[in-house]
């Protein structure tokens, strides 16, 4: 098949990272660059030490060559994450986080931890938040039926993790209900 086995049932974390890396982030450039038109849009000019807003993939490329500092997004700080964790553990719903927070925080922690204040604490908090949310999404399984399951607040990486199991589960429930002679029709809206 033209699509490799590993890509057939889901999306891979590196693919999600690629998508998240289109999002814009602030940097403090250490190199000068004129305004340049890329395929995704026009970015620059870069004039150190003025902050500039570029896609995450550009920030990563510059950072790896020590040509910029990454200004972490507001939510990626000890204070903000601590607050999220408190809400996560005290409320039944998912607390609000950017849809691609897992990918973005991973990329930044991987290559620019020196631009973060207290990266180790941030790692621990992200892990705790992740675990608190995981146990909530697992609870969703008990509410699974053949019809619909609301999962608002779930993030891109979390959806990807539960995808195979949830899809399989709902498919089985659908098959149990399906009447082969009269496939159920959905009313027109």
């Amino acid at each position: 098949m033209a699509l490799p086995q590993s890509l057939r049932t889901s999306v891979t974390p590196p693919e999600l990272e690629l998508i998240a890396s289109e999002q814009l982030i602030d940097i403090v450039p250490l190199v000068t660059m004129e305004k340049t038109a890329f395929i995704s849009g026009a970015y620059g000019p870069l004039r150190p030490p003025a902050k500039a807003r570029v896609p995450l993939w550009i920030a990563v490329n510059l950072k790896l060559k020590r040509k910029c500092h990454i200004v972490p997004p507001e939510w990626l700080s000890v204070e903000s994450l601590q607050d999220k964790l408190t809400r996560e553990t005290s409320n039944p719903g998912f607390s609000e986080l950017p849809f691609r927070f897992a990918e973005i925080s991973k990329v930044i922690l991987d290559i620019a931890s020196d631009d973060l204040e207290n990266p180790d604490k941030i790692r621990t908090l992200l892990k705790d938040i992740r675990e608190a949310r995981q146990s909530k999404s697992r609870e969703g399984i008990s509410k699974l039926d053949h019809s619909e399951l609301g999962l608002s607040g779930l993030c891109s990486m979390e959806i990807n993790e539960i995808r195979p199991f949830f899809i399989k589960g709902m498919s089985v429930l659908t098959k149990l209900i399906r009447d082969p002679e009269h496939p159920p029709k959905l009313d027109e809206t």
């Binding site: 098949m1 033209a2 699509l3 490799p4 086995q5 590993s6 890509l7 891979t12 590196p14 693919e15 990272e17 690629l18």
Partner: protein
Amino acid sequence: MAEHKQFCDLATQLVTESRRSTSSDTLFKYNDPLVRQIIREQRQLEAFIQSQVAGSPEFTGEAPALLIYQTAILRNKRCLLAYHNHRIERLKDMYWAVGGALPHLLSSPDIRSKLSPLEVDFLKTYNSEVMEFRSEFSDELDIMAGITEPPKDLNVLVKVIRDCGVIQTELGSIDFRKGQRFMVRRADIEHLIIQGYLEEVR
């Protein structure tokens, strides 16, 4: 004990082979003897039906036998087609995994020995169809290149596993000799990684 106990035993054997092929991620040799045996069974079943119909024009009391023959025929046929279809999917996977380098695939004696002549024909025609599809995009990109690893770095450090001669790259032409290492543009040599000539050094 008879060679096979009931209708469709052989067909079950055939699809079990497909299952094993999937679970062990291996391509087995085309099972020509078994396929032929099942086809013989199909002819036998057809003959049974004919004799039943001829023997009793009113079908009195014979209908259940006919139903069983007919069911066996359909099941055998389904298994035969499933087996062939499964192999085609597997061969296509192998074809795409080497970036559509069919000569590379067919030059392996191990793989070649496992294919039926018709499967080789299939791959050749499939290859030319895919190449035609590919040519629609050839001004801008090669749709056969890898889609499992999103690009991160423009350049990649590679180790030469097998000699692959002189290749034109953005950094000029390079003679890749076994054991050497080069820093090259990923896009220039990705097909050589896929075909096993080069290995990425991480």
